[in-house]
Amino acid sequence: MTAIGRNEVLHVARLAALEVPEAELPQLVEQLQRIVAMVDQLAEVEVAGAPPFQAGPDAAQLRQDALAPEPLAAPPASFAPGFADGFFAVPRHAAMEEE
């Protein structure tokens, strides 16, 4: 359906927040080309009239939209690195310090 090359692989890596070391790039491009060629065989399937599959039982149960205690083994303050006023606190990032 489409050729996937070096630039496409680097673009997808950026979208996925992944790095591809230069040394690994040729092999990864070759592997992804072969995998994409395999999945491209779906282009030949005639799907007119077939709706997209929906996973799950027909009668999925939705729970009441009501607040309930979280099923935690211990309160968040006991396992989070930082927890205050109902919020998880994460380490301040260096980029924020400069602002």
Binding site: E19, L28, I35, P71, F79
Partner: protein, 455 residues
């Protein structure tokens, strides 16, 4: 025998297997086993799993043992909540014995993608145990525990069960709560039991299956384990043989083991019917679009902020995310995230994900038509017996193609069981039975008969 005796015995078995280099476990301790036994002091001995040691695949969260998904990105992570499946096992009197090795985030067919090294096949140390629930299958096959939990997204319970010579059930999608199963392909994932004996599979399924409001896809279909299933036999049953599954690519050894089983089932009073699943030739392609797309979304949460590993290289927030993920994920996980990102990216969604979702409907329709003329479908689980460790690691596409007989059940949401049916090249071979949605009872009935024929 008391639960305390069982806890000590289990510890000795786990220690012996670890010392032998099986590498089936990722976490366990004798004090934790003793605590489990002490918990049972307050419980009635009539509980369905009272004193039964159960190994848990390490992508199912537990509060008292770490959950790593065999990934560096979650190394040392301890969940603040328990998976529903584990809660139910404990409530039924089980002893949670250990966490077991797997392909990282359940992505693989050999357990070689674990960040903590491959598990060996108990039948032959130089062979893979299958995957991704390779540790759970090997633990049962090696006699470390009588039962274990695995998860099955494209065959990850059935394929290692086949390679290790044990029984493994992928239940109907929605039968067992996925709450606390670390998400890989959410529309495909299902927790299920692995055991040495089909009867234990039924006991486990009854404990595991009931509605859970924390998983809206977990339906109102509790499974009732009827002891009569295991003595009913197969007389009068119609067993469908899909012509697409017995052709090219199936090794002669696997084929002849299946042929012997088919002959035995016929002798026991079953009839066989040839059926056709015309679109299953596209199942691997549809599966690797859907599972990678869902994985790329599910694994976006591992960014160094909320869970596990966090890089030291973080001059900007983007660097923090990228370097954390680069350091934390293994090659196969990164490959699948990239394929999934590609098929979901702008301009490609309709051609890939939407098309695969429609092909999934066609495959489901094929099964529905086939089940109009048979009660269960019999097929291979894998094209060959367990291959050598390292044999396919350089060629991911070849590895994907080994899933050819198992992914269709996940795409259609139907149950499938792998039952040992013979030996080839001194390695176990399994047979797969598949049934319509919610008909696990048929699988236990035919699986039990197959087990008796082989033994």
């Amino acid at each position: 025998v008391t639960p305390h005796d069982i806890a000590r015995d289990t510890g000795a078995r786990l220690q012996e297997a670890d010392a032998r280099g099986l590498n089936a476990t990722l976490a366990w301790s004798q004090p934790q086993l003793d605590t489990e036994a002490a918990r049972l002091d307050e419980m009635q001995a009539t509980a369905p799993l009272f004193g039964m040691p159960v190994a848990i695949k390490d992508n199912i969260v537990t509060t008292d043992l770490p959950t790593t998904c065999a990934s560096r990105i979650l190394e040392g992570y301890r969940s603040p909540f328990e998976a529903t499946a584990v809660e139910r096992l404990r409530a039924a009197g089980a002893i949670i014995a250990c966490k077991t090795n797997l392909d990282e985030f359940a992505m693989g067919s050999s357990t070689e993608n674990s960040a903590f090294g491959p598990t060996c096949n108990p039948s032959a140390a130089d062979r893979i145990p299958g995957g991704s629930s390779g540790g759970s299958a090997a633990a049962v096959a090696a006699g470390m525990v009588p039962v274990s939990l695995g998860s099955d997204t494209g065959g990850s319970i059935r394929q290692p069960s086949s390679h290790c010579g044990v029984v493994g059930l992928k239940p109907t999608y929605g039968r067992v709560s996925r709450y606390g199963l670390v998400a890989f392909g959410s529309s495909l994932d299902q927790i299920g039991p692995i055991a040495y004996d089909v009867r234990d599979i039924g006991t486990m399924l009854e404990v595991l299956s009931s509605p859970d409001e924390r998983d809206s896809t977990c339906g109102l279909r509790p499974f009732v384990n009827d002891p009569g299933l295991y003595t009913q036999g197969v007389r009068g049953m119609r067993i469908g043989l899909p012509r697409e599954y017995f052709g090219e690519g199936l090794s002669a050894g696997v084929r002849s083991a299946l042929d012997r089983l088919i002959a035995g089932l016929k002798d026991a009073g079953a009839t066989t019917v040839e059926v056709s699943l015309p679109n299953v030739g596209y199942a691997v392609a549809a599966y690797y679009i859907i599972c990678t797309a869902e994985a790329s979304s599910n694994l976006a949460r591992y960014d160094g902020v909320k869970y596990g590993h966090r890089t030291g290289e973080d001059s900007t927030l983007d660097d923090l995310y990228t370097a954390t993920r680069e350091e934390g994920f293994g090659a196969e996980v990164k490959r699948r995230i990239m394929i999934g990102t590609y098929v979901l990216s702008s301009g490609y969604y309709d051609a890939y994900y939407l098309k695969a979702a429609r092909v999934r409907t066609l495959i489901t329709n094929d099964f529905n038509k086939a089940f109009a003329s048979c009660d269960v479908i019999l097929s291979p689980v894998t094209p060959t017996p367990a291959f050598r460790i390292g044999e396919k690691t350089s060629d991911p596409l070849q590895m994907y193609l080994t899933d050819i007989y198992t992914v269709s059940a996940n795409l259609a949401g139907i149950p499938g069981i792998s039952v040992p049916c013979g030996i080839t090249e001194k390695l176990p071979v399994g047979a797969q039975f598949m049934a319509p949605q919610w008909q696990e009872a048929l699988l236990l009935r035919t699986g039990s008969s197959a087990q008796q024929l082989i033994r």
